[in-house]
């Protein structure tokens, strides 16, 4: 059963076996596995439950309804929009549905450099297989690429780069192009329509939406309860309070809010909130002479691959991924001078676009500001800046090679680049906060796993070092950037972490 705040106007105090905080990629998997293992589970989710009938495909309605801070959660220097879902199903409801697992190299990197040797590559593969099956993962075929994706891939091919189509979790996709603001057809197999139904089918799970957890209560190395309040989704106004006692707690509030909750609760030790990776992405848009209609079809389905993965360094390089953008999002992410932008938008149907995704190194922090909200501090290192500019240049070259008449580069003041020679302008730019539009869809790493308390927040079973009846099962446990796309890595680790919980006695 999924119930909202209106169904418990007085609030509630309950006891259960397992309390899961957050219902996204990590929380949904945990709820399903733990309930299938016989445990009684209560999931607390701050966001509302939004079934497909309420997905209106209108940006101005869906960003406020489905996203944390309406999509306006920014780093403290205003440089990067850190996008996260705040809805039953978490970020998987608004994600681009690409499915990319953790590679052997990254797994080896974590094992050798961070001591995360609890699970083998075979364990990971077993977890990923169940996750893929539950979310209906399958490969996009070349014939399914819309013109935007096909042009990017063609450009990459012409430059002799590695190109490919994605694996994704869309089944029966009608190509509306609205993945970022929720699928009105349930074709995207988000956690809300895959793992949560699987959990509910056990009859042992209750999902309480519109319930914001404020902190954990703990006593002598054990978490005893969570306290919080019901919220009105539109403005976050506090409604009635609640308190949940449990034997086991799973924290899966995502890489920004999980460390925040631990911090305000005095849990997690010195490393909590540190080691944030954002995997920044910058947009590049191109103008073609004829229609591209990037906003229809499967949005992010083809890519140009310049990523590297080694056991010594983990992930590096960059990826260029075609992307669709609705008009409002297109306008605010295209950095052209404002007058040029309006002319550009009159040719919206001829616009193609991609995101340049750069796997970074952990280095940011999440702390609490004076309102108790997260303060996300993050600076692009010189190396990441250089890679980002390289990625932007390569993207522009791909679009020009595919026949674009011009490319809008993500730096204010730069006119459209109409030839390779114009790209020399990129030698003189730097990626500055609140100037180059950048997003992060993959925050991670703020409750790092590892064998040593102090250096890591959770142990290699994903249990809190200082309160082992609480497991963190979300994107915050990755020691370094897990993959170019994080939903399958989160689900896989949550799967393994939940199984580890089941291996121990319930109390």
């Amino acid at each position: 059963m999924i119930r909202g705040a209106a169904e418990v106007p007085e609030g509630f105090t309950v006891r259960t076996e397992v309390c899961v905080v957050g219902s996204g990629a990590g929380g949904g998997v945990a709820a399903a596995l733990l309930s299938e293992g016989g445990r009684e589970v209560l999931v607390l989710e701050e966001g509302p439950h939004v079934p497909r009938e309420r997905m209106t495909q209108r940006e101005e309605q869906m960003y406020p309804l489905l996203y944390r801070d309406g999509g306006n959660q920014l780093t403290d220097d205003g440089g990067i929009s850190v996008l996260q879902g705040r809805v039953v199903g978490g970020s998987t409801v608004v994600n681009m549905a690409d499915v990319v697992g953790i590679t052997e190299e990254v797994w080896a990197h974590w094992r050798t450099l961070f001591g995360c040797d609890r699970w083998s590559m075979d364990d990971l593969a077993e977890a990923a297989a169940d996750c893929r099956a539950t979310i209906g993962a399958n490969h996009v075929t070349a014939e399914q690429l819309n013109r935007n994706n096909a042009l990017l891939v063609r450009g990459g091919d012409r430059l002799g780069m590695r190109t490919a189509t994605m694996e994704h979790n869309r089944v029966g996709c009608v190509g509306s192009g609205y993945c970022l603001i929720g699928c009105a057809y349930d074709a995207k197999r988000s956690v809300a329509v895959s793992w949560i139904p699987r959990a509910l089918a056990t009859g042992r799970v209750m999902v309480q939406s519109e319930a914001r957890v404020d902190r954990f209560e703990h006593d002598r190395g054990r978490v005893v309860a969570v306290v919080g309040h019901l919220v009105r989704p539109a403005d976050g106004a506090k409604l009635a309070p609640f308190r949940v006692e449990a034997d086991t707690f799973v924290l899966a509030a995502g890489a920004i809010h999980s460390p925040l909750l631990l911090k305000v609760s005095g849990l997690g030790g010195a490393a909590v909130g540190r080691n944030l990776s954002l995997q920044p992405q910058a947009p590049v848009a191109a103008l073609f002479a004829d229609d591209v209609v990037m906003f229809r079809g499967i949005p992010q389905a083809g890519y140009v691959d310049a990523e590297t993965a080694t056991a010594e360094e983990g992930l590096g390089g960059f990826r260029l991924e075609a992307v669709s953008a609705t008009p409002g999002m297109s306008a605010i992410t295209t950095a052209l001078p404002t007058a040029d932008l309006h002319r550009f938008m009159t040719r919206y149907r001829q616009v193609a676009a991609n995101l340049c995704l750069v796997p970074d190194r952990p280095g940011g922090t999440v702390t609490a500001d004076r309102n108790g909200r997260p303060r996300i501090s993050y600076a692009l290192t010189p190396a990441v800046q250089a890679t980002m500019i390289d990625a932007i240049r390569t993207a522009a070259r791909c679009w020009l090679a595919a026949g674009a008449e011009g490319v809008a580069l993500p730096f204010p003041g730069l006119p459209m680049a109409r030839s390779e020679a114009d790209l020399a302008a990129l030698d003189r730019v730097s990626v500055r906060p609140a100037s180059t539009p950048m997003i992060s869809a993959h925050p991670q790493g703020t409750c790092r796993m590892g064998p040593r308390a102090g250096e890591a927040v959770v142990d290699t079973d994903l249990r809190l070092h200082d309160a082992p009846n609480l497991s963190v099962l979300d994107a915050s446990v990755f020691p370094t950037t897990a993959s170019s796309h994080t939903q399958l890595p989160v689900m896989s680790l949550a799967w393994l972490g939940a199984r580890a919980i089941l291996e121990r006695p319930a109390r």
């Binding site: 009938e53 309420r54 997905m55 209106t56 495909q57 209108r58 940006e59 101005e60 406020p64 801070d69 309406g70 306006n72 920014l74 403290d76 220097d77 205003g78 009608v174 509306s176 609205y178 009105a184 539109a234 403005d235 976050g236 906003f295 609705t326 008009p327 409002g328 999002m329 297109s330 306008a331 605010i332 001078p337 404002t338 007058a339 932008l341 309006h342 938008m345 009159t346 040719r347 919206y348 149907r349 309102n371 909200r373 204010p412 003041g413 500055r432 906060p433 609140a434 100037s435």
Partner: protein, 161 residues
């Protein structure tokens, strides 16, 4: 968004005093102050002067501003407050230069465009943040309006609840 520092505000305050004097001296007429439920009449005036500068010529800035205010009134008060603060800082420091002082909303349309465009690449982070916030609010509001879509060839949502 980081709040501007106290020192920065003090600087802005001094410019404001000078700006008011110079505005009187050169006879700039303020834009008509509009009643406003959320931002206050001064904030509303600045918002409209920003929209006029950032939206295409002839755009119905009053209507767009109404939409923004309605949105702010329903949403998260902290975010709304931050926008209000950004508008205040822009109004009282945006129009000031080495040679003249004027509130932002009393600048000519071309001057306002130049100021907002210049702030996007300013060496001061707070200015870039404010210019970015203004652009986001203005452009998002404009391009999510159904009335704008025909001109850009967007055929709108497929579902009609």
């Amino acid at each position: 968004m980081n709040g501007p520092s106290r020192r920065w505000f003090l600087g802005g305050g001094l410019l404001l005093v000078g700006g008011t004097l110079v505005a009187h001296a050169v006879g700039h007429r303020p834009m008509e102050e509009r009643a406003s439920a959320f931002l206050g009449s001064s904030g509303r005036t600045t918002l409209e002067s920003v929209l006029e500068a950032l939206l295409p010529d002839g755009a119905p800035v009053g209507e767009v501003a109404d939409g923004i205010e309605g949105f702010l009134a329903q949403g998260d008060p902290i975010q709304g407050g931050q926008l209000g603060l950004a508008l205040t800082v822009l109004e009282h420091t945006g129009g000031a230069s080495l040679w003249s002082f004027s509130r932002f909303s009393r600048r000519t349309l071309d001057e306002r465009r130049e100021i907002l465009e210049g702030w996007r690449s300013s060496s001061l982070q707070t200015r870039r943040q404010i210019a970015d916030a203004m652009r986001r609010v203005a452009l998002f509001s404009w391009y999510t309006r159904e009335q704008t879509w025909a001109a850009i060839g967007y055929d709108g949502p497929w579902v009609h609840p």
